[in-house]
């Protein structure tokens, strides 16, 4: 295989990258400095000390104990939880001290549970990372088999005016699952807005799984799941941005994509989608990547069980239950 050697040189780099976008899963969690966050008796997140000092000022919104934080159980339903949390976030936003809230999006995500269609509340997507709430999105890999260059992938450079990762290189098309939008529906909407993919072309969109990882940055905690879709594009297709959120697009070979993903100019939380694609297409394979099976596992960490406590918050809290041994009944 032509590209084998160049990947060989990146073996440890690819695993390092997978550990980077899982830095919280692999080490942050066990430091035990975050407090579990419960809503209506279910753990939906984790709260870091830097966020605790802000929410402590809202005892009417949060019930804070020595071991956990609970959204005021007096809030009766989705509507009331949503409005109380929105009011609190608005106050914090006005103070302009929290980095994450500087990136306010005016787009709400739902706080849901892994094994239920019921949602507990909604809040602006920029606030999810303050509470370590699971975040869902879609990512489309636009690719083609070039007659001379082989597998090639379209990457986008994010607009320099974006609230998050401005100017960073990213997947062809991606977007968060906002309240009221379906998964495929979000894909089609984003593909049209970000890259002008429409008509017959969009019908070639193929669902191919999802990636789950748990990243942490200065802004907060990111337990993210991305639904991944593949779109094989014609050789003559050139993406055109329609919503001003993209600086430019570039067609790269698979090897160039890996180098780009390993550079500081790539959005860390989009690397899992690229690696998953290159593994599914056989470009990264057991023969050229000795950490292959570990890499594949780190693209699908068990977020469904990371917030499952084997007891209710009224029980004794032993502070160490991650990974397996949950939802077993």
């Amino acid at each position: 295989m032509k590209e084998m050697n160049s990947i060989q040189n990146n073996i440890s780099d690819l695993l390092k990258l997978a550990r980077k976008f899982n830095c919280f899963y692999l080490s942050g969690i066990c430091q035990g400095t975050c407090k579990p966050f419960f809503v209506a008796g279910n753990q939906v997140g984790l709260i870091r000390p830097d966020v605790m000092k802000h929410i402590q000022r809202f005892p009417e919104v949060f019930n804070i104990t020595g071991t956990y934080v609970e959204l005021n159980p007096a809030f009766r339903d989705y509507k009331e939880r949503t409005s109380k949390v929105a009011d609190m976030l608005m106050k914090l936003r006005k103070e302009d001290e929290i980095i994450a809230l500087k990136g306010w999006r005016d787009e709400c995500f739902e706080v849901s549970l892994p094994f239920s269609s019921e949602s507990l509340l909604e809040m602006d997507r920029s606030a999810f990372c303050l509470f370590g709430i699971r975040n869902y999105g879609v990512s489309v890999t636009g690719y083609l088999y070039h007659p001379t260059k082989g597998l090639c992938i379209w990457l986008q450079q994010r607009s320099f005016t974006k609230q998050t990762w401005p100017g960073s290189w990213d997947c062809f098309v991606s977007g968060g699952l906002a309240v009221g939008y379906g998964i495929l529906e979000t894909c089609i909407k984003e593909a049209a807005e970000e890259a002008s993919v429409e008509g017959d072309l969009i019908n070639k969109l193929l669902p191919a799984g999802c990636v789950s990882f748990y990243f942490e940055s200065e802004r907060g905690l990111f337990p993210n799941t991305e639904y991944v879709y593949d779109l094989e594009l014609p050789l003559d297709f050139v993406p055109k941005n329609a919503d001003g959120e993209v600086e430019t697009f570039e067609l790269l070979t698979a090897e160039e994509c890996i180098q780009r993903a390993l550079s500081p100019h790539f959005k860390t939380t989009s690397a899992p989608v690229l690696l998953d694609f290159l593994i599914r297409k056989g470009y990264i394979n057991p023969e050229n990547e000795s950490n292959y099976r570990n890499l594949v596992e780190l693209l699908h960490v068990p977020l469904q069980s990371i917030y499952s406590w084997p007891f209710t918050i009224s029980n004794t809290f032993n502070g160490d239950n991650h990974g397996s041994c949950v939802d077993s009944n």
Copy 2:
């Protein structure tokens, strides 16, 4: 989508199946009835009480404490560990009391570590499940797009004379990674032996990732990782078995495959490969399977970290570290 309704009816069935082949990951582990098994200071497995009562009779081979079992640290190297364990297994096999050893294979697997190329010892594959040692194999999905039936997959029925799962329905081609064989090499060998796939056809074999799960049966513990390969076959190809290990082959539609996998006649530990294939090909997708993201995670459970203790066996042993928070340095 034509097949959508029929899959809709199986939503809970597909998640039930994923929980079935992960029964030990989801519930067995936390019962805490198994003892960690260490070799040369590394945990490589877990030992159930039913196996403990047999190995307790070999104090010269196993150092057994209240909290763990250790292969005699006086054994100096791969060769010595291998021969001492082989002698012990031979004695147990003669007594003919252990079900797993009735399926003796005369084929050795290596006991290795997740982040090292070094192997600690080798033993007959039939004994791996007694110690809960990680097991690696390859699986090839032979498929085609039928002009009228759409996506179709070749399944094999295992020979009624096989030591494990005799007569059960299984993937097109699969095999364990035996000592001395590479991953792709094993694929090519098994495809030729089991289905007479040779020549130009075998060059179309595409690596597409791997599945990891942790199953338990009467025979023992199965923390398995399967490297998955796809092989698109011509419409007129008919597999012919060459090694007597296959009863018959059958070409099924994707929907028929799901029904077969849900039946008691399908090898439970091969279902992950089929589900992963149908997800990667978009047949099972977010629009027709509401447990989609949970299903995908249960096809890639974190076996790389399940045996990683944050301390050496000389330290205090607190008995509960699974899932995340490992190999973080």
